[in-house]
């Protein structure tokens, strides 16, 4: 390995002592001696084992649930139902005043995906719990299901989530950032030499951690509960468990941090609330651990993102317009997909100076497995589409793909579509080094290009941006009224902080089934605050400073 310290040498204040050298992990001795303590490694006696009856339907009303045979299985102690839930619906971001409580921890009379928990069995041993689960009879009234984001937005699509009230999520409150409007994309597309369109589809991807999701809850003598958990966000999960159970957070003591593989698949806080509730109702320690089959089927994967790109490009290789529609398949519940949607909008149009940009990112509800966080969700899918499309466009105009990227890369001083000036750009140098290492010939002009030269000036301008008439999807039997929810208004100010760092203490409760609606602020573009979603777009392609 070689560190190219000659690049931007005058800006460096580092010695990079650690990069490229093996460093011993602080936790590795525990790993190699078998002494690292994962959540399931805590010896607890007198455990009750929790196991959920899960939906065998993608979308159905529940006519009846018969647990009488299950109750007679020796060792069964309690069955948790929707009626036992202190809070009937929850979303893990509403503790930051973002989103809508849209998911019941146990089915509310309807199931919206295959594998949704309906009732939870508590038994003296895993075997009794499994036997009881098999003996619960659920009578379904199947409903039409929808598995495709665009079908979900089409007129007449079945309504997936009544808490949201329509098959997509749009939020024009403090964290709004699902659209970009920069310049006049339609005019630029009309005057471009060539328009190249593409459709890109991501698949859901399961994290498949070796350690499955789970937790062990132990009631303490002082009314508190010790929770040994797999969660990746210890305090995030603690706060969400407290909110969902309507108890003070100081009654919960979360112990964790040693996570047997997470990759984003252990932040949804799906096991802790039910297990703590079970411990509260039984006074017993409770263990709730996903089987491998549950981990693979019902734990939330990466969402299936679909991205449409329409580029206007000139023969000399300049991209003059980029129009993107990005759909996130959230499954039936928001989980963290609303946040992933914002991330994608913050990431587009990629690390390129394009004077006319139009982006719509949609969080769409379907009857697939709820999706959520996974390693750069929103961004990874966007990059897959953007960089695939860069190659397609380069080919279409007969230009070398490396040269094409250098031609369009951000340079210092360029105005980004998010209305933030580019600083510390380094994509050109990265491509030059990559080409050199790959033995890829570059023109003299491309070899001489620099991130420090050629930006700013005319490229620092915020172009006149016409009001946009975004068509709201004509979806569903929901309550959406275009005039009221603000569809069609131009959205220009885009500087939300990421949801998790929000300081708003109290969730704004939206009545069930009534989407939270805030009128978009009508003010002109706010100056970028230099953090939050903006950061995602300014981080990548940047050099260290």
């Amino acid at each position: 390995m070689r560190i190219r310290k000659e690049l931007f040498a005058d800006e460096r204040d580092d010695d990079l002592r650690l990069v490229g050298r093996p460093v011993r992990r602080q936790d590795i001795e525990g790993h190699v001696t078998g002494r690292s303590t994962f959540y399931d490694d805590h010896p607890v006696s007198g455990l009750l084992h929790l196991r959920c009856v899960r939906s065998t339907e993608h979308h159905a009303r529940i006519r009846s649930i018969d647990t009488s045979a299950a109750e007679r299985v020796p060792g069964v102690r309690r069955i948790l139902r929707y009626a036992d839930l202190p809070k009937k619906a929850h979303n893990i971001l509403t503790i930051f005043n973002f989103g809508i409580d849209d998911e019941p921890a146990l089915a509310d009379g309807k199931v919206r995906y295959m594998g949704e928990p309906i009732v939870a069995i508590l038994a003296e041993n895993p075997r009794a719990a499994a036997e009881a689960v098999a003996k619960v009879r659920v009578d379904y009234d199947p409903l039409p299901a929808v598995f495709d984001v665009e079908e979900a937005l089409a007129p007449g699509a079945p309504l997936v989530n009544e808490y949201i009230g329509r098959n997509w999520f749009r939020y024009w409150g403090d964290y709004d950032c699902q659209q970009i409007r920069f310049g006049d994309v339609e005019a630029a597309l009309r005057s471009a030499d060539l328009v190249v369109t593409g459709r890109y589809q991501m698949s859901p991807i399961e994290h498949a951690p070796l350690e499955t999701n789970g937790c062990i809850v132990v009631p303490a003598e002082d009314g508190r509960f010790t929770v040994y958990t797999c969660t990746q966000g210890l305090f995030f999960s603690l706060d969400n468990t407290a909110a969902q159970l309507k108890i003070e957070s100081n009654r919960l003591h979360f112990v964790g941090g040693t996570v047997g593989g997470g990759f984003g698949g252990k932040v949804d806080t799906v096991v802790e609330p039910l297990a703590v509730l079970a411990a509260m109702l039984t006074g017993r320690p409770v263990r709730y651990v996903f089987s491998r089959a549950e981990e693979m089927q019902v734990s939330s994967p990466r969402g299936a993102e679909r991205i449409y790109i329409e580029d206007g490009v000139m023969r000399d290789g300049r991209i003059v317009a980029r129009k993107i529609t990005h759909y996130h398949d959230a499954g039936p519940y928001s989980r963290l997909s609303t946040y992933g949607t914002i991330k994608s909008a913050a990431h587009h149009p990629g690390p390129y100076y394009i004077p006319n940009v139009w982006v719509d990112s949609w969080c769409v509800f379907t009857n697939r497995t709820p999706s959520s966080a996974m390693r750069g969700f929103g961004v990874t899918g966007g990059d897959f589409a953007l960089e695939s499309h860069m190659d397609v466009v380069a080919r279409a105009i007969g230009m070398d793909p490396m040269e094409f990227r250098i031609r369009n890369a951000y340079r210092d001083g360029d105005m980004k579509a998010h209305r933030k000036l580019t600083q510390g750009a380094a994509l050109i140098e990265c491509v030059q080094v990559a080409a050199e290492l790959a033995g890829w010939p570059l023109s003299e002009e491309a070899r001489r290009a620099s991130s420090r030269v050629g930006g700013g000036g005319e490229r620092a301008r915020i172009p006149p941006t016409p009001p946009s008439r975004t068509r709201a999807p004509a979806s569903t039997g929901g309550r959406f009224e275009p005039g009221r929810a603000g569809a069609g208004e131009p959205r220009r100010a885009i500087t939300p902080p990421p949801a998790w760092t929000g300081a708003q203490p109290a969730p704004t409760a939206a009545p069930a089934g009534e989407p939270a609606r805030r009128e978009p602020p009508g003010e002109p573009p706010r100056p970028a605050s230099g953090h939050g979603a903006i950061r995602f777009s300014s981080v990548f392609g940047s050099r260290r400073r």
């Binding site: 790993h31 190699v32 001696t33 078998g34 010896p43 070796l210 350690e211 996570v259 593989g261 491998r292």
Partner: protein, 159 residues
């Protein structure tokens, strides 16, 4: 039906009552208190529960506890010699051959079985030996390197 099981665990004679149908992994992690073998799938596909039974690598989730009666069981807790770590453990630590650590005990036991049988394995033999052990952090290359490094170090000590 419960049954008393006696076995030698990491050099110590132990006895415990096994439930009917209980697997060795459950007995080890439960009544015998050795949580070093991990439960990743409970269906014999991930290898995280690999232990040695009479020196042979075994998936503890697929072996009935009573089948271990009278046999010698080694887990990763029995790998070190007192405070002195096994060369495999040292090589894993030096070579960054663990990330989340959940597959590590099983990896180490599969590697131990290989080196006991084949002190100077080829790279292909190492890959074959851990083919039943899944690492979802995708750290296979440093794991294979560490096993080969341990073999080299052990050969150095023997000469």
């Amino acid at each position: 039906m419960t049954r008393a099981v006696r076995l030698e665990l990491n050099g110590v004679e132990v006895a415990a009552v096994a439930e009917g149908g209980e697997n060795l992994l459950s007995l080890l992690r439960g009544r015998l208190g050795d949580t070093s073998p991990k439960a990743g799938c409970l269906q014999g596909t991930c290898g995280a529960c690999t232990v040695l039974v009479d020196g042979e690598p075994v998936l503890a989730c697929l072996m009935l506890a009573e089948a271990a009666d009278g046999r010698r069981v080694t887990t990763v807790r029995g790998l070190a010699d007192g405070p002195r770590l096994h060369p495999l453990q040292e090589a894993f630590m030096d070579g960054f051959a663990a990330q989340c650590g959940f597959c590590t005990p099983g990896m180490l036991m599969a590697a131990k079985a290989l080196l006991d049988r084949e002190p100077q394995p080829t790279r292909e033999q190492v890959i074959e030996a851990i083919a039943g052990n899944v690492c979802r952090c995708t750290g296979y290359t440093p794991i294979v390197d560490a096993i080969l490094e341990a073999a080299r170090r052990m050969a150095g000590r023997r000469t």
